[in-house]
């Protein structure tokens, strides 16, 4: 039966994560010239809380739903974003069994993020040229659509200044030290892509939520024509629509993450839904929030723009939402999601 409350573990993880994120002095990395320096202390605290291993007792393992809730908090603060690909990549290594064990151990020893190279949905690149956390990574997992799984350890990638101020790294795809771990089935690759979509959707739910908060705070205090601008119906109603999209993003992401364990037959379909909706909401809600600030919103001194840029940047890594919409539409036509009217 429907229950939208957080379970005990979820609640504990979210509260502990909030404490870590609130105490962070920055996003988790610092740019210095052409390099990015990882905040290793913060990273250690995040991995202590969020990373479990195959040896962790079953009742203490975190599932995709808990990771989704964590991703929402990361989205709100824009702190610890390399954790998203780190989690997706580690779960994939675990899913491929013994082939991934050594790489998992190496990641644990490195004390740094595991970066992920996986083609965006519509990508024409056989090998993705950029990783969203590569500039602070100690290792890289490359998963190609044909099922080839490669692993590389070593120095972080070269930093690439970017739209979202992420620690983006340029991938050394022709490095001779790449090791092939396995050739896996397309299903496993598709699951990893779907998990990433769900977690990015959850990050965007957090991004929208915080953007909206900033906009409401400003709308309640900034006065024009002698009244708070939030009393103007055109602005207030725009923010109300933004609230619907924000909560919608959160609900769809949570449902998809829940389905990973509890309704696996719908997981892929719901992951496309969560991501396709989040990609649109991320752009629209954060743009509306920037707009509330007028000219100030366009400057880097005001934080709303950081959410606007980040929401878009993350989606460029994941892919064009139209492809997800088309897959959902195809499912509707083929009636693969139990939409038949029984007895009709």
């Amino acid at each position: 039966m429907i229950d939208l409350g957080l379970g005990e573990i979820d609640q504990a993880v979210v509260e502990a994560l909030d404490r870590i994120l609130a105490g962070a002095g920055g996003p988790g990395w610092q740019v210095s010239g052409a390099r990015c320096a990882l905040d290793r202390n913060l990273w250690a605290r995040l991995t202590d809380l969020l990373v479990t291993s195959p040896d962790t007792p079953a009742d203490e393992r975190l599932n995709l739903l808990t990771y989704g809730l964590a991703a929402e908090r990361i989205g709100r603060t824009l702190v610890g974003l390399p954790m998203i690909d780190h989690i997706v990549a580690l779960r994939f290594l675990e899913a491929i069994g013994p082939d991934g064990a050594e790489a998992r151990a190496a990641v644990g020893r490195s004390g740094a993020p595991l970066a992920l190279l996986i083609p965006a949905t519509q990508s024409r690149d056989a090998q993705p040229p950029l990783s969203m956390s590569g500039a602070v990574a100690g290792s890289v997992l490359r998963i190609l659509p044909n099922g080839a799984v490669d692993f590389l350890q070593g120095e972080p990638m070269a930093f690439v200044e970017n739209l979202g101020d992420l620690p983006v790294g340029r991938a050394a795809n022709d490095d001779p030290d790449w090791r092939t771990l396995a050739e896996v089935s397309p299903d496993l690759v598709e699951t990893a892509v779907a998990e990433r979509k769900v977690l990015i959707a959850a990050v965007i739910a957090g991004i929208c939520d915080r953007s909206l908060e900033l906009a409401v705070e400003y709308g309640n205090t900034r006065e024009l024509f002698g009244v708070p601008i939030g009393s103007f119906q055109s602005l207030a109603h725009g923010l109300a629509s933004g609230k619907v999209m924000t909560d919608g993003t959160q609900l769809l992401a949570r449902e998809a993450a829940w389905a990973a364990d509890d309704e696996p037959a719908r997981f892929l379909h719901l992951s496309w839904m969560a991501y396709a909706y989040a990609a649109a909401a991320g752009e629209q809600v954060t743009r509306a929030a920037v707009h509330i600030f007028g000219g100030y919103g366009l400057t880097r001194e005001y934080p709303a723009q950081a959410y606007y840029r980040m929401a878009r940047a993350l989606c460029l890594f994941v892919g064009d939402r139209r492809f997800d919409l088309q897959k959902i539409g195809r499912d509707v036509i083929d009636d693969t999601q139990s939409r038949s009217l029984v007895g009709a």
Binding site: L6, G230, A240, L251, A259, I328, I333, R339, V342, A344
Partner: protein
């Protein structure tokens, strides 16, 4: 966290599908409701099954079963407006009526034998409920009611009108209002049909010196706004009254669209524009369902959830308009011809159904409080923005605050 309805509720879906069968007719390959004239029979049938019980209003189980009922019925084109309005009033009566009134009306509502229409809107104002002008005055023996109500849907089948009146002629806005249960058989009432562009009937109801005994007054004299607040809680999402479910309505449009695409074959079904639009509608339908789940869950476990209900309504109603527009565009010229006209081929029936949905969908953005009312509720009570009439910022309502705290 659990997003499933559970076996018992899913099994109930099958029961509902069996129950609805006798009232389904097929026209040009499209299923639909046999017509408003049989709604009273259907309502009695629901009463016989015990589905109209007012005792379990906030139980999650009942709420979800009624969601499933509405979802199934609306997906097949049933517009059970009378069931919905009767239940809303029934829940309100169970809260605010005196014991004699409860004994008089509630058993009939539970049994599906009493139908009640809402008498809120007037010609000069639909969403501005507090601007009511229909006049009520007590002469020592009975109340005399004069004036006109508008958009009184289902009044032609109703046994009572749940009537908001102004009992203090000098009062303004929320003061000086009184609520009555007015039998439609009372002399002086004239029900005049008004048809929407989609051919759906609503009504104007005229009250010409209608005499109503004081025992039909609900709540205190001049305190009708308190009664209205209780009633509007149900209209704004406090429970899933089994009326015209917005989720089922969106699903119906999606069904029509998928049927049309299948009937046209690969030329349409492989068009990326078509699959994209179907994908967008499917997401809107999924989310409409999730918003209902959340409103019901919050209503059952926390407290009244009118902001969450407003969000559910806003999303679903705007989705309806978007969905019907996209699917009529897909139907193209086949959607131009009216039902039964044109003889344009085997998919003419579903194309005409899409045309109907297009001209019916704007109903959703108006009835039961326009989408602007929902946006103001969300902005002011949910986000804490100032009232648009500049009465200062408000705190978020407890249910919303609680949910957000739970989300961390």
């Amino acid at each position: 966290m659990d997003f499933s309805l559970g076996k018992e509720v899913e099994d109930f879906r099958l029961v509902v599908q069996d129950f609805l069968k006798p009232w389904i007719v097929e026209t040009d390959g499209v299923e639909g409701f046999a017509g408003k004239a049989v709604e009273p029979d259907l309502q009695r049938g629901m009463g016989d099954h015990g589905w109209l019980s007012l005792e379990s209003e906030m139980s999650m189980d009942w709420n979800m079963k009624m969601f499933v009922f509405g979802d199934e019925a609306s997906r097949r084109g049933f517009h059970l407006s009378s069931v919905a309005t009767t239940m809303m009033v029934g829940f309100t009566l169970s809260q605010v009526a005196n014991e004699e009134q409860k004994a008089r009306w509630l058993p009939g509502i539970n049994a599906g034998q009493i139908r009640i229409a809402l008498g809120y809107s007037e010609p000069q104002g639909g969403s501005d409920v507090a601007g009511a002008r229909v006049r009520s005055s007590f002469d020592g023996e009975a109340w005399a009611i004069n004036g006109q109500k508008q958009w009184t849907t289902s009044a032609q089948h109703a046994d009572y009108i749940w009537l908001l009146t102004r009992s203090q002629p000098e009062s303004r806005r929320h003061g000086g209002l009184t609520v009555f249960m007015v039998p439609t058989s009372t002399p002086g009432i004239t029900v005049t049909p008004i048809y929407t562009m989609a051919g759906e009937r609503t009504n104007a109801v005229f009250f010409d010196n209608v005499r109503v005994p004081d025992e039909n007054r609900v709540g205190e004299v001049d305190q009708g706004w308190k009664v209205l607040m209780a009633a509007l809680t149900y209209e704004h999402g406090g429970g899933n009254v089994p009326g015209r479910s917005l989720t089922g309505w969106i699903s119906r449009i999606l069904d029509h669209g998928a049927n049309f695409a299948r009937a046209r074959g690969d030329e349409v079904a492989d068009d990326p524009w078509v699959t994209e639009k179907l994908g967008e509608i499917a997401i809107d339908a999924e989310l409409a369902k999730l918003f209902v789940y959340r409103t019901s869950w919050a209503g059952a476990h926390i407290e009244k959830a009118d902001v969450l209900g407003a969000m559910a309504k806003l999303h679903a109603r705007e989705s309806l308009v978007r969905a019907s527009d996209k699917m009529l565009q897909m139907a193209g010229l086949a959607g131009v011809a009216n039902a039964g006209c044109g003889d344009l081929g085997p998919d003419q029936g579903v194309a005409s159904a899409l045309q109907f949905e297009y001209i019916d969908a704007p109903t959703g953005t108006v009835v039961g409080g326009s989408v602007e009312i929902q946006k103001s509720i969300i902005a002011e009570r949910g986000l804490g923005l100032p009232k648009t009439r500049n009465q200062g910022p408000r705190k978020p309502e407890p249910a919303q605050a609680t949910l957000e705290r739970q989300a961390g």
